[in-house]
Each structure stands twice: as C-alpha cells, then as structure tokens.
C-alpha cells in the first residue's frame, strides 16, 4: 500500500503545482489546498503507517502493551490542517474581495498597481 500512497502523494503534488501555475486565482488557491493535502499525506506516510492501532492507551492500563501508530506526525498534521484552514479562509475572502474590486481573477491583470508609473 505504501507504494500506492507514495504515488498518490506525487499526483497530489503534481496537481497542486500545475494548478498554481495557472493564471486564475481560484485555481491558484485550489492548487495550494492540494499541495497542503499532499504535504500532510507525505508526513503521515513517512511517520510509517500502521493499521488498526490508534495511539490511544487501552482501558485498565496506564501504558501501551501493543504496538501503536506514531502519535507525533499525527499531532503535527492536526495542527497543519487547522492552520491551513485559517489560511484558506483568509485567501478565499481575499479572492472574493479582489474579484469585487477588479472584476477579474486573472493574476496577470493584477500585477500592476494603480499608478502605472511605479
């Protein structure tokens, strides 16, 4: 399964980069989200995957008696998911604002300031 996951991560990265290279701002944002998902999956995979052994200490014991999934990458990814939501929410509202003000989501039309001389 690791092999397929690795390929899947590669595809997520490739799709993310491809979308980021588009001119549309919405696509840029989608690319960013896919790239973030890819990065989360990469960390998850590299922390080694384990089936059916969540890092929760069983009832009636105070330490693990069996093998368990690595909790550190999980804590890390959880933080990353939440933070990326903050970024996405901000970016989506920003995108809406830009669209309302400029009437376009073409990035090439946004790289000049109001003052053409600058």
């Amino acid at each position: 399964m690791e092999l397929y996951l690795a390929i899947l991560i590669g595809v997520l990265y490739a799709a993310g980069i491809f979308l980021m290279l588009r001119r549309s701002m919405v696509k840029l944002l989608l690319g960013l989200i896919l790239l973030g998902n890819g990065a989360n999956m990469l960390i998850f995979l590299l922390g080694r995957i384990t089936k059916g052994k969540p890092p929760v200490i069983p009832e009636n014991t105070s330490i693990f008696t069996d093998v368990y999934a690595d909790p550190v990458p999980q804590a890390l990814i959880l933080t990353a998911i939440v933070i990326s939501f903050g970024l996405q929410a901000f970016a989506i509202t920003l995108l809406k604002r830009v669209y309302v003000v400029t009437g376009t989501d073409d990035l090439d039309k946004l790289n000049v300031t109001d003052d053409e001389d600058i």
């Binding site: 690795a6 588009r22 840029l28 989608l30 200490i57 909790p71 999980q74 903050g86 901000f90 073409d106």
Partner: protein, 770 residues
C-alpha cells in the same frame, strides 16, 4: 592605549548629543583631544627609541583569535604622532575655517571618529581589528568627502571613494583570512616568525595580490588613483588631514607593516616598484596640466604616495630609511600647502592659479609658510625635504637592479613635484596684487598659524635632523626591516653624485617653473585623454553593471507569480534530482509494505479521479466539489491507518472549506481559458517531474530506519504524567500546549482578517457608487 583609541569614538558620540552647545566660540575645545593624545604618545619616544615595545591586549572574540591587541613600535609611533600632531593643527584650523557652519558639530564628530579609527589602525597588532579600523577610516572619509551634502558632485565623489576603498577593503579582508590560515596566527608580530613559511606557500601570490588590492585602493595607486582628486570636494582641512597626511598613508602603512611578513620576495618588490613608479611619474605629469590649486596638490599627493610605494618596493635598508623620512617630510609640507590653499580659497573665493597673484601683500604670514613648504618640497638644502630627497637618490642609486631607470624616474617625479610645490606655495603670493583681491584681509590667527608651524617644523628638522633620526626614524625602520639599524642624518653629505642629482633636480624644476605657466589651454589639451582614463573606464563599467543588474532583475522578477513558482520549482527539481540520482541508490523494498486491500484501492482510485476532475474542469463549482471529495478520501485513509483524530479534523475542515468556497464563489463566472496549449504542456511536464520526484523521495525515505524515541516518550508518559489516554490529544493540549495556544492565536488573527475583509466590502461599495 585602549583609552587613547576609544577617546576619538567617545568624543564623536558625545558630540552627537551635546555638540550643538559647542558650536560657538567653544568649538576649539574639541582640539584639546588630539593635543592631549599627541603628548600622550610623545612621552613614549625615549623608550621606543631605546628599542622597547609597548603591548596591551583586550579580549574581544578570543575563540576566533580576534582581540584588541595594541602594539606600539617605531612605525606605529611615527603615524600616531602624525595623526595627533597634524590632527591638532587641523582641528584648530577647522574651528575657524568652518566657523558658524550649521553642521560644525557633525564635522568634528566625523573628524574625531576618523582620528580614533586611524589610531586604532596603526596600533592594531591583530589582523581583524586592523581591518575593522581600516573600514572605519573609509566610512568616516565617506562622510567627510560628502560633508557638503547638498552638492551633487560632492555626493558622487564620496560614493566613488567609498566604492573603491570599500572594494579594496573587501580584498584585504580576504587576504587577511588567507594570511591567518597560512601563517596560523592573527597577530602580525607572530606572523613575522612564520614569514618563511608564508613566502614559500603556494598561495603566496594570491595573498599578496589581495593585500595589494587593499593597499593600492586606499593609497590611490595607479590605476585606482582617480578617487583622490574627486575626494578634494571635501572641506580643505579634511583634504589636508585625511587625503594627504594620514588616511591615504594607511595603504603605505600596511605595506610597511607587512614588509617583514610578506616582503623580500621578487613578486612583492617588483610589483611595488612598478606600480609605485608608474603612479608617481603618471600623476606627477598630471600636476603640470592643472589650474585648480587643490587638484594640483591632489595629484602631487598621489605622486608622493607612489614614491613611498616605490621606496618600499626597493626594500633595501636605505630605501626604507628614505621612506620613513619622506613620510614625515611629505606630511609636513603637503598639509601646510593644503592649509594655505584653504585660506586662499576662503578669503579670495577662487583656487584658480591663473587668476591668483600678489597675495603676499595681504596674506604675509601665509606667504612665509608657503615659501617654507615649497622649499622643503623642492629639497633646497637646510630644509627637511633636502634630507628626504638625498635619501631617495641614495636608495635608488644603491638598488641592485636597474638603478638608472629607478633614479631617472625619481628625478623626473621630483622635478615635477618641485614645480607643483612652487605653483601652490609661491606663485599665488608673488607678482602684482589684482584689484579684486585688494580687500582681502588676513584671517584669524587660528588659520594662519598651523601652516606656518608646519613650515617652520620642516625647516627645524632640516637644520637639526638629530631631533628625529635616532628617536623616531630609527625605530620605524627597525620595525620594517628588523636587524640592526644605526641612523644618523646629516645636513651635509659633501660633494658627491647625490648632491649633483639634487642640483639637477632643483635646476630643472626651477626652469620648468619660470618658463611655463599653468593655463586653461593646457588643461583643455589634457582633457582629450579623459575618455580613456581609468576614472572614465570605471564609471562606464559601473554603468554597464547597473544596466546588467537592471536587466537581470527585470527578467527574473517580472511580476508574474507563476513565473516565480516556475523558476523555484525548476531549480528545486534540478537540485533534488541531481542529489537523488548521484548520491542515493534507488531501491524500493516492497517486502515491508502493507498489502493493498479492496477498499483502499477504491478510495485511491476515487481520489485519482477527483484530482483529474479538479485539474481539468471548466466549472468552479465542480472543481470545488472534486476538491471536497479529495479531502474526504484523505479522511478515509486516516481512518484506515489508525488516525481517528486526524480523520475527524480533516472531515470538519474539509466540509467548512467547501461550504465557504461555495458561498463566496458561486456567483463567479466559470473558468476562463487563459492559457494556451503550449504553456499547459510545459507546466504539465514540470508538475509531473516534481510529483514523480516527491514519490521517489518518499519511497527512498521509507527504506531508512525510523527513530521512535520521541513517540515512545509520549506513549509511555501520556497517562503517567498527563493523565490522558489519547496520546495525540495529550501532545496537543499538554506536552505542546503552548504551541497550540500560538496556533489558536494565528487562527484568531486569520478570523480578524476575514472579518475585516468582509466589513471593508461595504465601504468600498459605497465609494464605487460615488
């Protein structure tokens, strides 16, 4: 000694604060500082003369061998006396010259800063502290050249000087690092011990090239000489002090200081002889074509510096004695000439020699000073300059190889220097006084006394050379040459070849002076060569560099975000691929992998399809929905692989994102097809390469053993220490609780951002309606 060096800096900082109270009549108080320092150094003359050395060390960065090691020997002594002695005269002169200037406090601040740095430079025994002070002198010189900061020419000259001396300083630093590595020490005195190792080292040539780079730019040697005439935009006291008597001699000091370490090698000697010789002849000729007094003095200063480099290059004991004497001689008469020019400029408003004449009637003390300086410069017997010139000829005549050429060059330079000295020191004062100058009056005592004092000094040392030979010159030569030196300077050497050469020099110089006149025509004639001068070539190079960097910046930073991403990703791919395929054995160990189950396959395929839809669809809503599906698939994968917390978080967040996206974007039109097929293919190839590389790296990492120390720490301590059974939760809210707090703060900031963006919309709409 630390206090002596730091006093300049302390004064500079004090002046920044309380300077404005000193602007009035109290401004001469600042000049007490160099006077006190002058007497401080004077008291060491007897012990230095006996061959003693003063050494004191203060730790700075001992682990890297960088300390404030101050070392006072004969060579440092001669420079310390010049810096403080001439410094004192300059300070009192300037207090009158710039009387009432708005930035007088600032001026004295820079000047004290410079004096402190220059003292530090000549007293440092440590390569790196020497370098720090070296740069500080360049910086204070920059401020002083640009002191008239409203004049664009002044600013330009300051920048040019800083660029050249700063660039040279960079070379010098590299040279010092190299020297420390080869010699194994950053103390100059210790390096003398390993001089033989350094001279035979294979990096000797690059090393001396770097050191020369520093010394030649600082001391304005050909072809870097052109910043010095430009530096004459500074107020005249500064020209006299920095750009004639002290700072430009820092390069000479450096060469003299490193003669025992790096010298006595044919590369060293020949380069210095050729560069010094070329500089002195070339720039001495320039003086012949100038009409501005300061410009004449600037070029003759460069010629004198060239002469010093030339003498150090000859490197025999006679030459080093001549150099030590000439440093003193030159400082005395050239500072004097500059100060006289300053008074003339100040009182008449012009420095054009073709307009000046007869000023002896109105500025008589300066006429005397000018005559004394010009005579010393000419090397007329009974002046100090006579001794200097004799020693120079002795040195060139006794040099082993090509004595004729060297002597010839020295004679030619001396003839032209004599001419320049007479033009600056005598010509303005003789002849008939023009009407326009008849109302010129003698300035305050503070302005005419310093040049007169310098002129008298030249005469005094000339008649009684015993005042300086054993006490100052001898220890200085000792520091450069080592071994034993016995010097006794005599006024009269008897009739010999040297005297004959002196007579030839004086006669030719006087003939040149009486037969020719400086004129605007000659200057114009000279300006024809301007396009091929090193000055112009450097400016053109600078312009080309600016054009090139402009083109480079514009082509890389073209304002298209896509392009930046493209460049960064391509570079990353190149770097990663190179490292991966050259440094790692590509190998995939499938034996450790988990088996693929049916539901995992379904989820993976679903994800692939959704990614495909997101990338290719023309509708925003479809793309957002497909992205939501991708998120849910990831959520399922988390469930399969024992991460229930992640699954829950991913589920919530993914849902929220999709909802937000749809709410905000559903009104927007469908995607427009902005890009053409060609760029899609190009981006596609890049993306696939990048994705493939990531997959490959992930698989390679999976071959490595994983370190579970941290995980097992959390696993064993989650319940015993933090009383929680869900380890992921315990990490987030207990072990790393602080991080979570910060994360919440970030989210709050994002929320405030979102909120204000939504609020802002209403306002702008109002504006749009207007």
């Amino acid at each position: 000694m630390l206090v002596a060096v730091l006093s300049g800096f302390i004064t500079a900082f004090l002046l920044a604060g309380i300077g404005r109270f000193l602007k009035g009549k109290l401004s001469f108080l600042v000049s007490l500082l160099p006077l006190v320092l002058f007497f401080y150094f004077l008291q060491f003359i007897p012990s230095i003369g006996n061959g003693d050395r003063l050494y004191s060390s203060y730790n700075w960065i001992p682990s890297m061998g960088i300390n404030f090691d101050f070392y006072l020997d004969g060579l440092a002594m001669i420079f310390c006396l010049l810096i403080t002695g001439i410094g004192f005269l300059i300070f009192i002169y300037a207090s009158s010259y710039l009387k009432g200037h708005v930035y007088l406090d600032r001026f004295f601040g820079y000047l004290s800063l410079f004096m402190g740095s220059m003292l530090g430079l000549v007293l440092s025994d440590n390569l790196f502290t020497l370098f720090v002070f070296w740069e500080l002198t360049s910086i204070s010189s920059f401020f002083l050249i640009g002191f008239n900061n409203e004049d664009p020419a002044s600013r330009k000259s300051a920048l040019l000087a800083l660029a050249l001396t700063g660039g040279g300083g960079f070379l010098l630093l590299t040279g010092f690092v190299l020297l420390q590595n080869i010699g194994g020490s950053s103390s100059i005195q210790e390096l003398i011990g390993s001089a033989e190792t350094i001279r035979t080292h294979s990096f000797y040539l690059p090393l001396i090239i770097l050191v020369f780079g520093g010394a030649f730019t600082k001391s304005a040697q050909f072809p870097f000489h052109f910043w010095l005439p430009g530096a004459m935009k500074a107020p005249t006291p500064v020209s006299a002090y920095l750009h004639s008597a002290t700072m430009v001699k820092a390069g000479i000091y450096l060469l003299a200081r490193f003669t025992p370490v790096l010298g006595n090698h044919s590369y060293w000697n020949n380069t210095l002889m050729v560069v010094g010789g070329l500089t002195m002849v070339f720039t001495a000729m320039h003086t012949f074509f100038r009409t501005d007094l300061k410009s004449i003095l600037a070029y003759s200063t460069i010629a004198a510096l060239g002469m010093l480099v030339f003498l150090i290059g000859i490197g025999t004991q006679e030459a080093l004695i001549a150099a030590a004497v000439f440093i003193l001689v030159h400082a005395l008469y050239k500072a004097g000439l500059f100060l006289i020019t300053g008074v003339i400029d100040h009182e008449t408003g012009t420095r054009d020699i073709t307009k000046l004449g007869g000023l002896r009637h109105v500025l008589w003390p300066l006429a005397i000073a000018g005559m004394l300086a010009a005579l010393s410069n000419a090397g007329i017997p009974l002046t100090f300059g006579f001794l200097g010139k004799d020693l120079i000829y002795e040195a060139t005549l006794q040099s082993a190889s090509s004595a004729y050429i060297l002597t010839g060059a020295a004679i030619l330079t001396n003839i032209l220097l004599l001419y320049a000295g007479f033009i600056a020191g005598i010509k303005p004062f003789i002849g008939n006084l023009k009407n326009e100058f008849s109302k010129v009056h003698l300035p305050s005592f503070l302005m005419w006394a310093p040049p007169l004092l310098l002129g008298v000094g030249g005469l005094l040392f000339g008649i009684f050379p015993g005042l300086v030979d054993r006490s100052i010159i001898q220890p200085a030569v000792l520091a450069m040459d080592g071994g034993t030196v016995e010097i006794s300077l005599k006024i009269w050497h008897g009739f010999n070849l040297v005297l004959l050469l002196s007579i030839i020099t004086i006669t030719c110089g006087l003939l040149l002076y009486f037969l020719t006149n400086p004129s605007a025509e000659k200057e114009k004639w000279m300006s024809r060569f301007e396009p091929v001068s090193p000055h112009n070539i450097t400016l053109k190079l600078a312009k080309l560099f600016k054009l090139w960097s402009g083109w480079y910046t514009r082509s890389l930073l073209n304002g298209h975000l896509r392009f930046y991403v493209f460049v960064i990703v391509s570079f990353l791919i190149g770097l990663l691929a190179y490292k991966l395929f050259t440094g790692v054995n590509i190998y995939i160990d499938r034996s450790q992998f988990l088996d693929l189950t049916f539901y995992e396959l379904i989820v993976s395929l679903l994800m692939l399809v959704s990614i495909g839809i997101t990338v290719t669809t023309d509708s925003r809503l479809t793309a957002v929905a497909a992205m939501g599906v991708i998120g849910y698939c990831i959520c399922l994968l988390f469930v399969f692989y024992s991460a229930p917390d992640l699954a829950m978080t991913q589920f919530t967040i993914d849902t929220l994102t999709v909802v937000l996206f749809v709410l905000v974007l559903f009104k927007l039109p469908p995607f427009l097809n902005f890009t053409n097929r060609k760029s899609k293919i190009r981006d596609g190839i890049l993306s696939v390469c990048f994705g493939g590389l990531i997959s490959l790296i992930a698989l390679e990492v999976l071959n490595e053993k994983v370190n579970k120390d941290i995980s097992s720490f959390y696993g064993t301590n989650a319940y015993t220490l933090a009383k929680g059974k869900n380890v992921v939760n315990v990490i987030l809210v207990d072990f790393r609780g602080m991080d979570t707090l910060v994360e919440i703060t970030v989210l709050t900031i994002a929320a405030i951002g979102v909120f204000s963006l939504l609020k802002l919309k209403i306002n702008t709409k109002g504006e749009n309606q207007l």
